[in-house]
Symmetry: C2
Subunit: 157 residues, 2 copies
Amino acid sequence: MTRGKVNLAYISNDSARRTTFRKRKSGLIKKTTEITKLCEIEACAIMFSPYDPEPVVWPSQLRAQHTISRYRRMSLPEQTKKMVDQEGFTRQMLEKTMEKVTQKRKENQHNQMTQVMYQCLYGGGFENLTIGDLNNTSGLISQKLREIERFLQRRHH
Amino acid sequence: MTRGKVNLAYISNDSARRTTFRKRKSGLIKKTTEITKLCEIEACAIMFSPYDPEPVVWPSQLRAQHTISRYRRMSLPEQTKKMVDQEGFTRQMLEKTMEKVTQKRKENQHNQMTQVMYQCLYGGGFENLTIGDLNNTSGLISQKLREIERFLQRRHH
DNA sequence: ATCACTATGCTTAGGTC
DNA sequence: AGACCTAAGCATAGTGA
C-alpha cells in the first residue's frame, strides 16, 4: 500500500516523526532557497528540533542574522509608536535609550568593543557561532551527488 | 503548452516574479505550518519582499519572536566560548555585561520598565508590533473558504 | 536507524478570463 | 492586476533492503 492523505497532526510514533522531520526539513530548506533565488527577496527559516544539536538556520547563519536584525531594526520604531498611552513614560525612556545606543554606535564606529557589545545587545550577536547549517549544506550536496551517481550508473547500465 | 522545468534563477519579468512570489510564499508558509504541527518543533520563516508592506513572519509574530530570542539566547554562550583568544578582553567585558544584564533582570523582575528595556535590548522587543501576519492568515482562510465554496457548489451541481 | 525507490498527492507554471 | 484551471513536475509516505 502506498500513501494515503497525510493527517496533519502530531506524529506520535517516534521514528516515523523523526523521518518525516528529516525529509520535510530538507524540503523546506529547498523551497526557501528557491523563493530567495527566483524573487531575489530576503528570506530565512529557523528550526528548533530535538533532532538537531543546533538550530537549523537557512539560507545561512549570516544571512539569517541579517534578515533578523533588519526585521528588528524596522520593527522598533513601529513598536515604539504603537505603545499605548499608559506606557508613555516607558516609551520615552525607551526612545532615549535607543537613541543613546545609536548615538554611541556612531561615535565609536571604530571602537571594536563597543561594536561587539552593540551587536550583542541589540543588532545581532551571533557572528562567531558554530556553523550549524554547514551540516545541512553537506547533506544537500551529498544527496545531490548520490542522485548524479545513480544517474550515471543508469546511463552505463 | 503547460509548464516546463523551472529555471532556478531570478525572474526578470516583473509581474511574473510577483505572481510566483505570491504563490510560493503561501506554499512556504503552508509547509512551515505543517512541519511544525507534524513534528511539534519550533520553526519560523521570515520574508522581506518589496511586495509586502511589512515583513512576512510565520507562524506568527509572537512565535517567531520566541523562536528568534530562543535562538539568540542559546547562541550567546556558544559565541562567547568560541571567540578567539586575541579578543579575550572583549570577551570578558562582554560576559560581565551580559551577567549584569541577566542579574539586573532577575532583581527587577517586577519592574516593568526594566523588563521592557531588557527585552528591547536583548531578548526580543517586538511584542507590540503591528500584526503583519494577520493579512496572511486571512489570505489563507479566504483561500480555503473559496475552495470549500467551490466544492459545495459542485456537490449541488 | 538510514538509504533508495516509487506511487501518490501536492505545488505551481502557464494559460484564460 | 488577481481569481481560477489544469497538467507537469515535485515532494514525500510508505516500503523493502
